[in-house]
């Protein structure tokens, strides 16, 4: 599969490195020679220096042969023009564009239905807001995601010493848990991902991932000594576009929200656009201001400035001053492994969100959504089990899954089934699969239809 990536920033770079590992043919275009050098120093892809919206450059990159074009520069307009040009030169190339500005929000669908006929508009800022909303809904979790329109959730939680289940082997859990038992599909211990078997133990300090239907979420959390206390007061530090989006969502949920932003002009704009949110002009890393605003009463402090370091420090400060939970926006992937060590548990990243939504469109088979966890070590994906694929019609234990793969859920109509080895997936069931990165090409094969599929 040939894929052209316009824009060699953080998103373009990471998508490219992801795709190369899966043996896709990638051409990456950027006008910035330094960005291109970074790509060619690290990954084995074809690179081109030039404006990605230029017809000549796109021709030269082979747009006519490309199955997919990703327009992911940091300029919405360049991305739109690149799609427009691609649409003229090669209408059947799939076009995915990152568009961030709120001004375009209401028009995404128009851009899909009319020229430039974008197949998917990706707005990482909207997705980050959704992620934050998920995290707010389960404030004790380190990671929360949804599948099947919210009917199934996956939750990552950190086990503490008080967890009653600490020390148990997974195979002992049926005896120790009464009633509904969540399916644990991954354990992260000392930054290493373990796909557990019955013999593995749960230890304090582990970050465990489990999957559950919405109905049993609270019961599942209780098993691990966590509770889903509702968040009522939120303090946001930084008044950028994500804050504005988030604050208006929180207003709808009647969550009491304050925003602290440095720039006075930005403050007045936010105050104008928001209704019940309190906008304060000031420095979010100023202790005195935070105290004055009763930070210790905030259920959650969310740091969303454009600067990673400011966000990290502000979150740490907020915690120290008594805030119950924090969510920190970080864009540098290299910071992720440090976060737990320095005491930051909940992290969001618009770029990772963008990468997640792009990957789903590149997968073979009918993949509906996919989420990377732990950077990119593993993926959880929701897919439709189509007729003629290897996954349907036989017990799961007979499906030739590679190592590091778990079918966590079968969705059949309204039913949510936690499968065993004997379960049989029927055509058109939806399935939620967890897979280590290395196993993904094989999973794609298992989800691929055979020749006779019509």
């Amino acid at each position: 599969m040939k894929i052209i990536i316009v824009g060699a920033g953080e998103v373009g770079f990471h998508i490219a490195s992801h795709l190369v590992r899966e043996n896709k043919e990638v051409v990456i275009i950027d006008h910035d020679a330094a960005a291109i050098r970074r790509v060619s120093d690290h990954i084995d892809v074809q690179t081109m220096i030039g404006i990605g919206s230029s017809p000549e450059i796109l021709e030269e990159a082979g747009i006519r042969e490309a199955e997919i074009m990703l327009a992911v520069t940091n300029s919405d307009e360049t991305n739109l023009v690149a799609c427009m040009v691609a649409n003229i030169l090669s209408p059947s190339t799939k076009k995915l564009a990152r568009i961030r500005s709120g001004d375009y929000d209401q028009y995404h669908e128009l851009f899909c239905r009319n020229a430039p006929n974008i197949d998917t508009v990706i707005n990482p800022e909207m997705e980050v807001v959704t992620t934050i909303e998920h995290l707010i809904s389960v404030p004790n979790a380190a990671d929360v995601g949804e599948f099947a329109g919210g009917r199934v959730k996956f939750i990552g939680i950190r086990l503490d010493d008080a967890t009653p289940l600490a020390g148990s082997r997974l195979l002992e859990l049926p005896d120790r848990i009464q009633g509904h038992r969540p399916l644990i599909f991954a354990i992260i211990r000392d930054e290493t991902l373990i796909v557990p078997s019955g013999k593995d133990r749960l230890l304090p300090g582990d970050l465990i991932y489990f999957i559950t239907d919405d109905e049993h979420l609270e019961a599942s959390l209780r098993q691990f000594n966590k509770h889903a206390d509702p968040v009522r007061r939120v303090l946001i530090i930084g008044g950028g576009r994500i804050s504005l989006r988030l604050a208006s969502r929180l207003e709808q949920k009647s969550i009491h929200t304050k925003i602290i932003e440095k720039r006075p002009d930005r403050c007045s704009l936010m105050a104008e656009k928001l209704h019940r949110t309190v906008v304060l002009c000031g420095d979010g890393s100023d202790q005195a201001l935070l105290k004055e605003e009763n930070i210790q009463d905030a259920d959650m402090v969310i740091t969303l400035t454009d600067d990673d370091e400011t966000n990290i420090l502000a979150s740490l400060l907020a915690k120290r001053l008594g805030a119950w939970k924090t969510i920190t926006k970080i864009s540098k992937f290299s910071y992720f492994p440090l976060m737990h060590t320095i005491g930051i548990n909940q992290v969001v990243d618009p770029r990772l969100s963008a990468i997640n939504s792009i990957l789903q469109h590149i997968r073979r088979g009918k993949v509906l959504s996919s989420v990377s966890i732990r950077g990119e070590d593993a993926e959880i994906m929701e897919a439709v089990a189509l007729e003629t694929t290897d996954i349907v019609g036989k017990p799961l234990m007979d499906v030739p899954f590679p190592k590091g793969v778990l079918v966590t859920t079968i969705l059949r109509g309204e039913n949510v089934i936690i499968p065993t080895g004997q379960s049989v997936v029927a055509p058109n069931d939806r399935i939620i699969i967890f897979a280590r990165r290395e196993a993904i090409p094989k999973i794609e094969k298992i989800l691929a239809v055979k020749l006779e599929y019509f």
């Binding site: 043919e25 042969e65 199955e67 059947s92 073979r364 989800l447 599929y453």
Partner: protein, 152 residues
């Protein structure tokens, strides 16, 4: 039904240039779009959509891209040869040289499956496959297929 009842001489492309799946499908579709009156991008779209669910590169150097379209009255069938081979993501991972292309009306699953099996049966014959790969003219391709095209 025989393959030659539906495969027209103009639909035989002797020398596919592209080395990529999408490029090859575009080349194969060009003559078909003219004959059938269906917009080429529409044909490419359905064929590529089908490929996304699983490659029709069945190995042994053969690809049978196929799909269905709502608003057509009759079958659209094409044939193509690539001398250098195409990366068609085939199940054996090897380049693909011989292409049969098939687009059928949405409600004719029966004919569709019959044609697919007819095509795959013909291509099981290694000698014939070799001769097809080396065919020099559109007529020669049709002649070779005719030998095995016993119909169903």
């Amino acid at each position: 039904m025989k393959i030659l009842d539906v495969l027209r001489k103009e639909a035989v492309v002797l020398d596919l240039k592209s080395k990529e799946k999408k490029g090859v499908i575009e080349e194969l579709v060009m003559p078909l779009a003219q004959v059938s009156g269906v917009a080429p991008e529409e044909l490419v779209r359905v064929l590529m959509e089908r490929e996304r669910l699983g490659s029709t590169g069945i190995g042994g150097g053969i690809g049978i891209p196929h799909g269905k379209l709502k608003d057509i009255d009759s079958l659209i069938v094409g044939f193509g040869l690539s001398r250098q081979g195409v990366d068609f993501e085939s199940i054996d991972g090897r380049p693909t040289h011989i292409f049969f292309l098939l687009v059928t009306p949405e409600n004719s699953i029966d004919i569709h499956l019959k044609l697919l099996s007819q095509i795959s049966r013909i291509l099981k014959n290694d000698l014939l496959k070799e001769r097809l790969r080396n065919a020099k003219s559109q007529d020669e391709v049709l002649d070779i297929i005719r030998e095995e095209d016993v119909g169903l």
